[in-house]
């Protein structure tokens, strides 16, 4: 097969939409940053607490992207072929979060009780945990996690591009093998580092509390956020010159099925934690739920369970929903909004355990980080053709039409 010309791959329609996404990101980011700065000046405590919420929410996209990308390299399949470039672009935004981590690194005392010596001295449990939960080690770990994610994303991208550019069939297959091996090891590394990151950054807000399934639960939550976002992206780009040949009702059906998997898995992990703590009924475990059900917080999680689990669960049982772009977009938008409520419920009751609060700084920080992320993502996505040769080869019709191997 002769090399397809770069011009033919340029797909102006798709890149126009991606350019628009970049503008939306830039506008959202600028407005958000202004809001966040005002928020920080007005009330630093509220700013940094909601900043952590926004950080954790948007972290789902690089990490979920990296996770799904490596799963795709391992198992292949057409669902991932249409997503490979977006997943790579999302994973490549990991270094942005190294930068975004700075405000958290600068003031751990505003967030984490274990970083305040008086509190640690007063609690026997925290004195024992001090070996792990101390500021220097916390910062080293954060740098290591973000470094590992960045490294994984860069190497996967580098080999993916090298595979795309090579003319030698032997080297082409070799890159596929290398990508698979790295993905297998990388998935193990990602799940471990992501687990510890979630323990460090979110679970340790309430340092005397612990739950073994918590990291899994938060990782599945990240995957749900990411999957929803990538479904929306495909739905948005499906009619453009880049994807129209590859995205039909069957592909939307695949994405819908995967989304259903994460919806169910989220509910499973969330419920398992509840039922274990309920059965144990011990005083050092239940405060987490007491804080999250007092003064209106219970309504937040009730809404999340109804709209992020029951509604999508029954909707996604129907082929019609997965195959109709309008219904699918509506459902994804609903899940995406409910993920916001879910992460807010996960983080904020650590500081406001008596009464539900909706801080305006949360929106400002969400827009600031989200806008920056969206801008970086769209910029990275726009730099390469949306479909790779190895992705297209997963489509039998394309292979037939282009005489591929």
């Amino acid at each position: 097969m002769s090399s397809p010309s770069r011009q033919a791959d340029a797909s102006p329609q798709a890149h126009k939409l991606i350019g628009r996404l970049k503008l939306v990101g830039a506008a959202m980011g600028l407005l958000g940053i202004v809001g966040a700065v005002i928020g920080a000046l007005v009330d630093y405590k509220a700013f940094i607490e909601t900043y952590l919420f926004a950080f954790v929410f948007w972290l789902a996209l690089p990490l979920g992207g990296l996770f799904l990308l490596m799963v795709h390299h391992l198992v292949r399949g057409r669902w991932g072929a249409i997503l490979r470039r977006p997943l790579e672009a999302a994973a490549l935004t990991a270094p942005l979060f190294l930068l975004l981590f700075v405000p958290i690194a600068l003031s751990p005392q505003s967030l984490y009780p274990w970083s305040i010596p008086e509190i640690v001295q007063a609690s026997e449990v925290l004195r024992h945990k001090d070996l792990y939960l101390n500021v220097p080690f916390f910062l080293v770990r954060a740098a290591a996690f973000l470094g590992i994610w960045t490294l994984l994303a860069f190497v996967l991208r580098r080999w993916s591009l090298a595979q795309e550019n090579t003319k030698n069939p032997g080297a082409y297959r070799e890159y596929r093998t290398k990508l698979r091996i790295l993905s297998a090891l990388g998935l193990v590394a990602l799940v471990l580092t992501d687990s510890f990151a979630m323990i460090d950054w979110v679970q340790s807000l309430e340092p005397e509390w612990y739950s073994s399934i918590y990291p899994m639960m938060t990782i599945v939550g990240q995957l749900l956020t990411a999957m929803t976002f990538f479904c929306l992206l495909v739905l948005g780009l499906r009619k453009t010159d880049a994807l129209s040949e590859f995205v039909d009702a069957d592909r939307l059906n695949d994405l819908g099925n995967l989304l259903l998997v994460f919806v169910v898995l989220w509910a499973y992990t969330e419920f398992v934690q509840l039922v274990i703590i309920w059965s144990g009924n011990t005083h050092h475990k239940i405060p987490w739920y007491l804080a999250r059900s007092a003064g209106g917080w219970a309504w937040v999680i009730a809404a999340v369970v109804a709209l992020q689990f029951f509604v999508p669960l029954f909707a996604l049982f129907f082929r019609k929903v997965k195959r109709s772009p309008k219904l699918f977009i509506g459902l994804c938008a609903l899940i995406f909004v409910m993920r916001l409520a879910d992460v807010y419920w996960l983080v904020l009751p650590a500081f406001y355990d008596h009464e539900f609060v909706l801080l305006w700084q949360a929106f400002a920080n969400w827009a600031a980080i989200g806008g920056l992320w969206l801008f970086a993502f769209a910029w990275l996505l726009g730099r390469k053709p949306l479909m790779t040769r190895s992705s297209k080869e997963l489509f039998p019709e394309w292979r037939k039409a282009h005489g591929g191997r």
Partner: protein, 179 residues
């Protein structure tokens, strides 16, 4: 159509799922409604072509799931709250989180049973004999042959004209299915 009374239908045989799907499409375009396909494995998209959009199984499975879940939740609530309340570790009697696993399990069990029994019932199974067994070579339907049958019940069915039409589909053989 007096002679069609002695026939169950007309059967045409193919050696690939694609040929079967093409033929099914043409049979449907011709206006036949009572069309049945027999294949050794599931053929994707065949249901849509044949117009089999029977929603009964889905409704039965949902009913089974709701019945099982309600039964399980109700049974646990009744026994814990009214019939035999035991205080364990100071939890409330209506301890719903611990009822969920059984509720889920029984919901799945009854959904599966409803689906399985409903499938048998709707297909009128088990059945010891079926007219299609009389078709020569029909036993290969379990290994490598694909059959399409137009039932004699169809309003447009005519023993000779339908046979000629099926013959024109390019199958391996057209056979009569005696009733």
């Amino acid at each position: 159509m007096t002679d069609s009374a002695t026939l169950y239908g007309l059967m045409v045989e193919f050696d690939s799922p694609e040929a079967l799907k093409d033929a099914a499409r043409r049979v449907r375009d011709e206006g036949f409604e009572e069309v049945e396909a027999f294949t050794p494995m599931p053929v994707e998209g065949l249901d849509d072509i044949l117009g089999h959009d029977d929603k009964w199984i889905a409704a039965l499975v949902l009913a089974g799931a709701l019945f099982g879940a309600t039964l399980a939740f109700g049974m646990q609530t009744y026994s814990w709250v009214w019939d035999y309340p035991i205080n364990i570790g100071g939890r409330p009697m209506f301890s719903w989180p611990s009822f969920i696993p059984i509720t889920f399990e029984l919901g799945v069990l009854f959904a599966a049973l409803a689906g399985f029994l409903g499938m048998l019932l709707l297909n009128r199974l088990p059945k010891l004999h079926h007219p299609t067994f009389e078709v020569p070579g029909f036993d290969r339907v379990t290994s490598d042959r694909f059959f399409l049958m137009v039932s004699a019940d169809d309003g447009r069915f005519d023993r000779h004209r339908t046979a000629d039409f099926l013959d024109s589909l390019g199958g391996l053989a057209v056979s009569e299915v005696p009733s």
